[in-house]
Subunit: 324 residues, 2 copies
């Protein structure tokens, strides 16, 4: 079994290989640009880890790892258009740099490239990979639509919110593990366990992100604290606060939500204080812990030697360390 460090090096190699050498350049250069922007490459890494966990070789999972990385980048490019985002990882987004039309089309072609990767496993595993990937791709689109709908929705329930983050974020982590497991030769039960593990850990990650955006440390979080509050983003924290607040606190919250030009630090401080009064941080942590525990149970139950689970436990800790 390779070390996590060695697997990460392999991921860098396969992502470099994923650069598309075709014509017209005007279509593929933007795709290669976004693919080269870096990031943690969690999804392809999960593919490789899962393949090894079930007893296969990391290199067997190269094509599915490329598949999920293309897909993730397709969704980033189109999401950035929808969110009107100018920057991604400190660099210009594709639509800012190359224009809207090219951004749409480069995204489209990356989705096709994601599917193309599955032909590498055409003899043995294609039907299984294809069904997992189709379902996941569709769910991610649905999740993005819910996310957009929630921006203007009057009321969003915690249940709806959890479903949205599951679709938009968590199922792709589950699918990355499941697809890695498939090409690694896992049996059906272990494939499913790894999917469930990824799904729950994905929900936990997203809840952690919500928490850190308000209660994190700017240095380790890497983004400005309070961004979600300033945007009135319907996170677990805000939804729960609106649910629990008494009429007076409701009024206060709505004052800040509707204030057209608040002093930023005042708004962040006031809303954070309300969150603290209502104990929504603890509730979010409890929900996160619940999904983390479920994930851990699934991982415990996978029928392979404990030693083979090392890398997955390790990467999970690295990604969750900020709140553990």
């Amino acid at each position: 079994m390779l070390s996590l460090f060695e697997l990460q090096a392999l991921v860098e190699q396969l992502v470099a290989e994923a650069a598309i050498q075709s014509e017209p350049q005007a279509l593929y250069e933007p795709a290669n640009y976004i693919l080269s922007l870096g990031g943690k490459r969690v999804r392809p890494l999960l593919c490789l880890i899962a393949a090894e966990l079930v007893g296969g070789r990391a290199t067997d999972a190269f094509s599915v790892a490329k598949c999920v990385e293309y897909f993730h980048n397709f969704s980033l490019v189109h999401d950035d258009i929808m969110d009107n985002a100018a920057l991604r990882r400190g660099k210009q987004t594709i639509h800012e740099r190359y224009g809207l039309n090219t951004a749409i089309l480069s995204g489209d072609v990356m989705l096709v490239c994601a599917y193309e990767q599955l032909t590498e496993n055409i003899d043995k595993y294609l039907p299984y990979l294809f069904q997992v990937f189709n379902r996941t791709a569709r769910q991610v689109c649905e999740g993005q639509q819910y996310d957009m709908l929630f921006e203007t929705a009057k009321e969003v329930s915690i249940k709806e919110y959890l479903q949205m983050i599951e679709l938009k974020t968590a199922v792709l982590l589950g699918a990355s593990l499941q697809m890695g497991a498939i090409v690694g030769g896992a049996n059906k039960r272990n494939r499913q366990m790894l999917y469930e593990y990824g799904r729950h850990i994905g929900i936990a990650f997203q809840l952690q992100d919500d928490i850190l955006d308000t209660f994190g440390d700017e240095k380790t979080f890497g983004k400005k604290i309070g961004g979600d509050i300033l945007q009135n983003k319907k996170t677990f924290l805000l939804i729960k606060a609106l649910e629990l607040a008494d009429p007076t606190t409701q009024t206060k919250l709505h004052f800040w939500i509707n204030e057209p030009k608040p002093v930023e630090q005042e708004k962040i401080a006031a809303v954070t204080q309300i969150y603290q009064q209502l104990g929504v941080l603890q509730l979010a942590q409890a929900e996160m812990q619940h999904h983390y525990n479920l994930a851990t149970q699934y991982l415990d139950d996978i029928a392979v030697a404990e030693q083979q689970k090392t890398n997955l436990r390790l990467i999970t800790q690295q990604l969750m360390h900020r709140v553990q």
Copy 2:
């Protein structure tokens, strides 16, 4: 074998079945809206015709017919955004009716739905269908990118133009026939012949469209004559005219191309006259005829009884009748 009329009725049925009954409505309603707008449904019809031509049943090709229809509609939705088109078949385009973000995302999900249809043939034909469809989907994106590039390109050659229309339009007609042939149980040679037939007939159709846009009859063409001339669209006619014109005629052509606010009928008349002087109509007709003849040769060479080719010959005549 069913009659063309019966096949067309089946296509209407399968397109009605293709309406997506899932949540969120905000995502799927726009998809169902564009799917319901009508049109000639040439691509799914070609799937059914090909399946029967090679000895299979039309119903075997339902899923691949839905696949190509979803794909075609995905590309329409995204192309309409890129072309800034307000109307499609006399109705509002998706981005006009539902907004840009929903149009991008509904297009994306239709591309996924297209792929999902291939799982219906998962046991027997998936690898073949998947490879044809992946290649075609990628080529269509490339064709659209070339089309956009040509809008602002200084010079486009006839060769480049023919490659663009092949990618943007013709390969999907070829793939529709090839995929229908695959699920109809065709051997490799006949699959390939049908693909080549569709590819060449697709190029012929597009050249016919170019010709009719300038030299057609408004009543039967269904669009205003001269639209391409007014938009300075780099069609076969304009590219060839720029290639053949002597310096004086070049100057005249560039005058009309660069005239910011021409009297529409004057511009159409003047450019049409130049086309007539240079004989580019005849050259376009010859090129169209060349691809039509090639297509016919491929169809002649398919190793099935002549009677089984009836519907494909018939639909081709219907679609080409305007210039035959």
